[in-house]
């Protein structure tokens, strides 16, 4: 198995979900944050998340044979989920750009909340359409809620852990701890629920088992993914406990937690594409 099976789709879907997660969790934190320095730090993440979103979109072109024809991809919104996903990608990108511009300014802008609200709504709808793209009646492993659970799991986990890195630098960062931990745990539960659904069941009208590899191989990679992601969330929980005891060694723990969880999610996404098996010839 290559390191990143279907690498462009793995990176595109995961990074776009990270970008949406950063804004979604960030807006929840901003709702509770009073301190000006903390608010500034969280606001600064929007342009970074937008840059990540743009990188994800550019990477997605790596999956196309004729990227110059990309403008045609929103012609079939009436019946194609892929067309709908690309349509939502455009809408999210436009409001994301608007939000990023406003948040590059020091002073909070009057229309920021509207723009952020639109990014969250369009972003969540984007993740829904992304999930539907892979709900194929001809691919039994994917024809379930596996993509929905996995994609929303990635969004919550990485969004919460990214913002944990941001607020951990501030003096009163630990007061957001419970909110971040709840979001990360929600993500972890979604990811864990998706894992067993991703193990392919080989039947006679699918590709031969030799093409897919043994189910044990797939299961071991999925287990490694859950260990990495679980470690990420676990380290966040531990950091929050230690933070109350003024632990100086914990300074880089949120960053480590984010890197571990992102690695786990990328591995899980790679396995998701690897598990594709279609009925028929």
């Amino acid at each position: 198995m290559p390191l990143l099976h279907e690498w462009s789709l793995v990176l595109f879907t995961a990074l776009a979900q990270v970008a949406v997660g950063i804004v979604l969790v960030g807006e929840c934190l901003l709702h509770a944050a009073q301190d000006a320095a903390v608010r500034t730090n969280i606001r600064r993440q929007s342009p970074i998340a937008f840059a990540l979103f743009v990188v994800a979109v550019l990477i997605s072109l790596g999956h196309t044979g004729s990227p110059l024809n990309s403008f045609n991809t929103i012609r079939n919104i009436g019946s194609s989920w892929l067309s709908r996903e690309i349509g939502m990608l455009c809408l999210t990108g436009i409001v994301f750009l608007w939000l990023a511009f406003m948040r590059m300014k020091e002073q909070e802008q009057a229309q920021e909340k509207t723009a952020a609200g639109l990014v969250v709504v369009f972003g969540v709808l984007l993740v829904v359409t992304m999930s539907q793209v892979y709900r194929l009646p001809v691919a039994p492993v994917w024809d379930s809620c596996v993509s929905f659970l996995a994609f929303f799991g990635t969004m919550f986990i990485t969004g919460a852990l990214w913002q944990a890195v941001v607020v951990s630098k501030s003096e009163d960062g630990e007061k957001f701890g419970t909110l971040l931990l709840v979001m990360a745990f929600v993500g972890l539960i979604l990811a864990a629920a998706s894992a067993p659904l991703g193990v392919p069941v080989v039947s006679a009208d699918m590709k031969p088992a030799t093409v897919l590899g043994p189910a044990s191989f797939v299961a071991s990679k999925l287990a490694l993914r859950m260990v990495l992601t679980g470690l990420g969330v676990g380290i966040l929980a531990l950091t929050l406990v230690r933070a109350t005891q003024n632990c100086r060694k914990c300074a880089y723990a949120p960053l480590l937690a984010f890197i571990l969880a992102l690695t786990g999610e990328l591995l899980g996404r790679s396995m998701f594409y690897f598990a594709y098996a279609r009925i028929g010839m």
Binding site: G65, T73, S79, S80, S83, A204, K207, I279, G280, M281
Partner: protein, 206 residues
């Protein structure tokens, strides 16, 4: 030109020689790996103990020659984001290369592996039912090339009257999925759709 062109496959006659596959590649000048028609071998069987204690076998093998079935409910047309995959004026499902982005989503969805990605073009390609030949009153290449006369083509309604509806046999998908314009005489060894008694052998050949 036929109103609803459709293929008929006589699996009981097919010897698996792959002449249809090769002639299609030759006529359409397809690069290595791009196959608009494929011949799959479905095999199975095992040793069985008889009541007298001796052993026998129930080994079977049969061939399925398959291209695009220009379905009545073509999933590739539904899912294509660009509308490049469409049904043309001759009721043939084909690709508009001026629109195709080469995303391969049709390939992911078609249970007959009909849409094939041509890396040289960066676009999807597929069986066009040799409509250039049909317009001149000629026979599609695969039909003309088959030495066993196992492939025929004709008006779908007429073929259905002669041979019945498309059947659900392994390794074909359930015809309810896309409503293929395909009629057939199954092999006498044919197993029902979804059967676990056999598997597609020699995948590297197709």
């Amino acid at each position: 030109m036929l109103k609803q062109p459709a293929f008929f496959i006589d699996m009981s006659s097919c010897s698996g020689c792959k002449t249809c596959m090769v002639s299609c590649m030759d006529k359409n000048d397809l690069p290595i790996g791009v196959k608009w028609r494929r011949v799959t071998e479905f095999t199975g069987g095992e040793w069985m103990q008889r009541p007298d204690g001796t052993f026998g076998q129930n080994v079977f093998a049969y061939y399925v020659s398959m291209s695009c079935n220009h379905c009545d409910d073509p999933i590739c047309v539904k899912v294509c984001p660009t509308t490049a995959m469409h049904r043309n004026e001759h009721n043939i499902v084909t690709v508009d290369h001026n629109k195709c982005v080469g995303c391969r989503y049709c390939e992911m969805n078609c249970p007959y592996s009909a849409p094939q990605f041509n890396a040289e073009l960066g676009k999807m390609t597929k069986c066009d039912f040799c409509y250039d030949k049909q317009l001149k009153g000629e026979t599609p290449t695969c039909v003309a090339a088959c030495p066993m006369r196992a492939i025929k083509f004709g008006e779908f309604e007429e073929l259905k009257k002669m041979y019945g509806e498309s059947q659900y046999i392994a390794p074909l998908p359930n015809p309810a999925l896309t409503k293929p314009r395909l009629t057939m005489i199954p092999s006498r060894n044919a197993k029902p759709g979804g059967s676990t008694e056999g598997m597609q052998s020699n995948p590297e050949e197709v």
